[in-house]
Amino acid sequence: MIQDLLALCRIYRPKLALMLLMIAMPWAWAAFWVPWWVNAVCFLTVPIAMGILMLHVLPPPEAPRRESDPTDVPDAQIRKMRKMSSGVHNLLSRWSTHADRSRSHIEEVSSHVDDVIEYSESAVVEIGKRFVSVTRKTRKQVDYALAMLEHAGPDGKRRESRPLPELVTAYEDLAAKVASSLAKVAESAEALEKRHETVRKDFENIDKMLDQLAAHDSQIGVLALNTSVKGQDVVSVSDQIRTLSLESKALTRDIRRTLEQVRGQATSMHSAVRNAVGQAREASTFASAEGQKLSREMLYNSQEVSETLSQIGGIGNEIQRDINEIIVALQFQDITQQKLQRLKDPMLSDLMTALRAIFDETRSLSVKLEGSGLVEAGTEKPRGGPETPGNLGPAGVQGRRKGDEAVEIF
C-alpha cells in the first residue's frame, strides 16, 4: 500500500502542491482560533487525507495516449497498467539488487571452488607422483634384496666373490682336508710309537746279551784265576773258555743282528717321521693358503652385502621423504576442503535468503497482477508446489523456465 502511495505521489507530483493547498486551506483559516492540539491533529491529518484522496477518491491522472499504446485498450486500463508498472519497477530494482549480490556471491564461491579444485588436483597429482616414486623405490629395494640373495649385482651380473653358502662349504672342505691330513699324521705317529716299542725291546735284548757277555767275561777271569792259583787242568779250562768264547761269539752275533734291526727300525722311523712332518707341513700350507683365500672372499662378500644394505637403507630414506611429501599434500587437500566448508555456509545461506526474498516478491506481484485483471488468473502462477525453500531447486529458482528443461519435446 505504501509502495502504491509512493507510486501515486510520483504520478501526481505536478499537482501535489495544489492538493496540499486545497486540503490545508480550511485548517490554515481556522488555525488562529482553535487550541494548539487541534492544530496538531489537523496538521497530522493533512498527509493522511492526501493519501486517501489519491488512493480512493481521485481518478488516475490523465496521461496522453502514446502512439505505441494499443488502440483497443481503454484509457483507464492503460493508466492502471502504468500505475502497476511503477510498482513493478520498484520490485525489479530490488530484484536487481538481490540478483547482483547473489551473482557476486556465486562468482566468489565459484572462484574459491576453482581454487579448491586446482589445489586438490595438484595435491592429487603430487600424491600420485609420490606413490609411483615410492612404489618404484620399493621395487628397487626388493631387486637389491633379491640380487643379494642370488649373489648378483643390480645389473644381474654375478658378483666376484662366491656366495656365503659356497664359502661355508669351501671352509668345510678345507677343514675336512686338514682333518684327513692330521689323521694321517696321527697314524704315522702311532706306527712310530709301535716301532719305538720294538726298538726298546731290542735294546733290552742287547742289554741282556751284554750282561751275559759281562758274565762270560767274569767267568773267564775266574777260570784264569783258578788256573793260576789252583792249577786246574788246562784242558778242562780251555774247554770251558772255548765254550764261553763260542757263547760270547753267538751273543756278539745276536747283538750285531739286533743292532742291525735297530738301525733298520731307526731308518724306517726317520723316514716315517719325515713323511709325517711333510704331511703336516703340506696340510698346514694348504690350510693357510685356502684359509687366506676364503677369508678374503668372506671379507669381500661382507663388503658387498654391506654396500647392498646401505643402498637399500638409502632408498628407505628416500621413501621416507616421499611419504613426508604425501603427508604435506594430504594436508593441502584437507586445508582447502576446510576452507571451502567455512566459505560455503555463510555464502550459500545468504544466497538462499536473497532468492527466497525474490521468490516472495514475485509471488506477491503475481497475486497483484491477477487481482488487477490485467492478466488472466493462473497464467503467471509459479509452478513447483508450496513455497518452501526446499522446492526452490538447486539454483534457488522456482521451476524451470522454457528452454531449461532437461528433456524438451516439441
Binding site: 613426508n324 594430504l330 594436508q331 593441502f332 587437500q333 584437507d334 586445508i335 576446510q338
Partner: protein, 120 residues
Amino acid sequence: MARILVVDDSTTMRQMVSFTLQDAGHEVTEAADGIAALAEAKGRKFDLVITDVNMPGMNGIDLVKSLRELADFKFTPILVLTTEAGQDVKAKGREVGATGWIVKPFSPEVLIQTLRKVLD
C-alpha cells in the same frame, strides 16, 4: 617417548599429526575440539599439547587459555598448528600462553625438530 595431546577438528589432520608423532616414538591422544581436549587434560597429564585454532565449540586460543589455568598445564609446552599465519592471531596466541606456532601444512621433519626443541 612423550605423551602428546593432539587437538584438531579435521580427522585427516589429526591422523597425519598422530602418524608423524607415533612414527617418532611418541604416545598420542587425539581430541576433536577444545572441549574434548580440556576433558582429556583434566583426566591425565601430557608432556605436550598440539592444537589447531579454528575449531567448533572451543577454539584453540581459548583452549590454550583454559589449559594454562590448570595447575598441571601451567608449564606444559603448547604448540599451535594452524593455517592462520597473521601476526594478530599469533600475538593473541602468545598472550594466552602458547609455546610455539606452526603454520599448516607442516613438514613432518620440521614438526619433529620443533617438538624436540620444545621438549628439551
